[in-house]
Assembly symmetry: C2
Homo-oligomer: 302 residues x 2
């Protein structure tokens, strides 16, 4: 069997960057076969990115083969499965595109291994994937001295919504003391467990109320029937939506405060990922001393 | 007719501070005959305040008389109407209670004249009343070098809610660019015009969206039938409630962010007013260089 280098190198040479994309920032999107990967690829060009036609698939879509080709957004992608020598492949691509930034929207089980791979090759990466061991993810990125932007939430509006809750808890702790919280979220059925975004808000609500609130108490709706009927998610958005509702209720029930969002589709996440790539690139370009960022950093720049 | 001093002085002497209240901070609540005045008086004792049994009424409840007595919360109040010599009366009370702080929950038309009176006598005051000329109110208070806390919103939770909106707009301006806003508020029928609290949030929403939004576009519900049916305000709270709902909608209608509160009754405002009195007293006691505060200052202390 051919070495990865012997496969990737001629592929890149036979797929030269079209003249219209020459000054665009090169990105490799993993996994291109997934919903978010597709969305990022589809919005990349209008956001000043050039998508390298190679991708790693974490979804076992490559079956027993080590690679296959996959058509998407007007180009053909060379997709490598989990059993290929990804380190060599990534090195080859990075050598070909020295400004490369990897965007990862794979699956929770792949988060830590993928980040480790990017770190070893020293390629800057944007990790948009939820789950995995988050502490390990940040620690490893910092230790390896690679440029990385790590955030399971790349929707600028949802991030700002989270920012509001985090800031108000910071500024006015216990201002809702005595109140009780009810938290409901709805995410696609495949997104098991309480989402990272909701989890990241719980400490702030606890701070606002000055009492404990277990993450287990979050009502995590994952059943399409309830999503349609109780939350009102349109049928066509059952596979891509994020709804969250947080209600603070006074002990005597005479006061209720509610913060909620209903977001359908993937376009705003893809836009956010593209913005994250540009932000991270600016840090690489300036050789910034800080190397690991979150999406909040990118938002606060503006 | 007797001079105000000749009326107030013996009244205060014949109503000595009960031993249980001796170490409490003295407050004069204007107008004691109003809903908020009553609420503040009723919650004062448990909040470490002693309510001086004299009040100014701005509601014309004194009719042609210059004063009357009014029973409230277990004591008898001497209430002076708008035509009495309030400056002399206030001076007498302030002389009797050198730690006095005035709490004003009167009517918008009285705001500026009342604040001017307190400033002239140099008695620290908490202005909880909505309306009036706010610029003039702040400017005059600053110019007269009196200690004052001025805020039309003394509900700690609503203030924190406002804080969240103000901070998120400050940190993430234009993060909702392209979105549209709909704003609905419901306040008691007598509270004409868009409330100060809603008005104070509009610039932040404009900043978040990066576009203009005219205050006239706020749907100000003041009709009890709509309040009951469309907003869901319980019958018994029609005369004392504050509901606000702000909805940000994406241009393609696939994303909606909602911030809302439903607050019934006056107790949390009264608690907030008591907290404001304590806060202002601490500033007077410490002879703080800053003299004019808002409710946010009091909240941020904690």
């Amino acid at each position: 069997m051919k070495s990865p280098h012997a496969i990737v190198q001629p592929w890149l040479l036979s797929h030269p960057v079209p003249s219209a994309s020459i000054n665009k920032l090169p990105v490799m999107v993993n996994a291109c076969t997934g919903k978010m990967g597709k969305a990022v690829i589809e919005t990349a060009e209008i956001n000043g990115l050039y998508v390298v036609p190679v991708s790693f698939s974490s979804e076992g879509r490559c079956g027993g083969d080590t690679y296959l080709t996959y058509p998407l957004s007007g180009k053909e992608f060379l997709v490598f499965g989990p059993s290929s020598n990804r380190k060599k492949i990534l090195k080859t691509i990075f050598h070909h595109f020295p400004d490369l930034i990897v965007v990862d929207f794979t699956v929770p089980s792949a988060v830590n291994a993928n980040a480790e791979l990017y770190s070893k090759v020293r390629v800057p990466f944007v990790m948009g994937t939820n789950g995995g061991n988050r502490d390990m993810l940040f620690t490893n990125a910092r230790d390896s001295d690679v440029y990385a932007l790590i955030s399971p939430q790349m929707n600028k509006k949802i991030a700002a919504f989270c920012g509001a809750v985090i800031m108000v808890a910071e500024k006015f702790p216990e201002s809702f003391s005595g109140y009780s919280l009810s938290a409901v979220e709805s995410r696609p059925a495949i997104d098991v467990g309480v989402s990272e975004t909701t989890k990241c808000l719980i400490p702030s609500f606890k701070k606002l109320m000055g009492v404990d609130f277990d993450v287990d108490k979050v009502k995590s709706v994952r059943d399409p029937k309830s999503q349609r009927e109780a939350i009102g998610v349109p049928e066509k958005h059952l596979s891509a939506h994020a709804c969250r509702s947080f209600t603070l209720l006074s002990p005597d029930l005479t006061a209720k405060f509610q913060f909620q969002h209903f977001v359908y589709g993937t376009s705003e996440y893809a836009e956010g990922a593209a913005a994250a790539v540009h932000y991270l690139h600016s840090k690489v370009y300036l050789r910034d001393a800080k190397k690991v960022y979150t999406f909040f950093d990118a938002l606060l720049r503006h």
